[in-house]
Amino acid sequence: MKNEIAGSVHNAYTIKLDNFEGPFDLLFYLIEKNQIDIYDIPILEITDQYMDYLFAMQEMDLDIASEFLVMASTLLHIKSKLLLPSKKEENQEEIDPREELIMKLVEYKKAKDLASILQEKEKTWKKVYYKLPEVLPESAFEVILDVTPSLLMECYQKCMQDYHDKQNDVSDKMGRILAQEKVSLKLKVRELLVKLKKGIKICFSQVYSLKSMSRVEVATGFLATLEVAKLGRATIQQKEEFGEIYIKPKRTKEG
């Protein structure tokens, strides 16, 4: 058998050459062709055969992918390791230089075996047909609202109650601020009233600007504005959220 292999090696590359998936594929082809036990690879023979293939590829002007060369050097490295007498410490266990290669080959073989199983299984399961999903109307899953007028009224009342409570809270805060702040709300109200007496529309941001006064002062200014409006001495207008606030004097009975 072995003689036959040796004899046919030089012609072997004519059978199959360019459709190897990679170096492992070529190596595997050689192993299977020579019926070698994967766990006991005769590195010398395999390396020679592998190199023959590479030389043949070269002769035929085929581009040899670098991966094939990496494998070639790995094989030659292992071969040289096996040939050279190893000088090493007595008690150190000797490692087979082929071990790493064998591990990789075994892993590759597993993948190759599963690949052929997949191909086999695919043949059966591509005969199977599936149905396209039905187009289900979305309204089938919509929740229908269940509202009565009395429920609406309850909600509204609750809303208003909350609003009212909040209002009370603010007035509490205002009392606290009046008692604590150095900046007096009374003073601010008086200031604002003086300005309003001139009968001109005031821009809030121009009178109370953080550039020229403290945060507390601006806040108190705002409270003063509200207070003035509450007293009925001015109307406040704000067209959009976070927009400019205009304070417009309102003519009172005295003025």
Partner: protein, 183 residues
């Protein structure tokens, strides 16, 4: 819905209308049974379809279920003229798919290491065919992408779940690795 027959009928109707695979959670929600009961009902149905004279069968795909025709009747269906031909995969694609199936979640680098060849294009093709997908990224330098197989993979190759993939000669390999002859 307490009657087993009723439940089975409802599941059949739901799966038929769905066409696509339906998750166990969804089915158990629809028939108002707990997950464990639903699974046993479904495996019962699977056997019934298999053993009785039906043209359709029930398939488990991971944690989903789907109705399909039995493979034996593909020639009859082909007569309808709706037969579609899926373009086959290349040898390399089967190899890469096998590696991903075994080692998932797995990085490109690992696949390349096992095959000894760059496999980027093949992986892209497999992802295009919806057989593999990017599960996530590995912690560590470069955070490389991790690949795994899809439900479509189970569907195309007739597996019930990932654990259904045959483990080839694991024990044999381990055993032999221990007594590699030392030259």
């Amino acid at each position: 819905m307490d009657n087993l027959r009723d439940i089975e009928c409802a599941i059949e109707a739901v799966l038929f209308a769905a066409g696509d695979s339906v998750s166990i959670e969804k089915i158990s929600e629809i028939v108002n049974q707990d997950k464990k009961t639903t699974i046993s009902i479904l495996s019962g149905m699977e056997m019934k379809y298999k053993n009785s004279s039906r043209g359709i069968m029930l398939r488990q795909l991971g944690s989903n279920y789907q109705l399909c025709t039995k493979p034996e009747y593909d020639e009859h269906i082909a007569c309808l003229g709706t037969s579609r031909k899926r373009q086959g995969l290349s040898q390399a694609a089967y190899e890469v798919l096998s590696i991903i199936a075994y080692h998932q979640p797995v990085t490109r680098a690992h696949i390349e290491q096992i095959r000894g060849v760059n496999s980027d294009n093949v992986i892209s093709t497999l992802a295009e065919k919806n057989l593999v997908y990017e599960i996530g990224r590995q912690e560590g330098p470069g955070r490389p992408k991790l690949y795994g197989t899809t439900e479509e993979f189970l569907r195309v190759f007739g597996f019930n779940s990932i654990s259904d993939i045959p483990q080839i000669g694991m024990n044999e390999i381990k055993m032999v690795m221990n007594d590699i002859p030392v030259d």
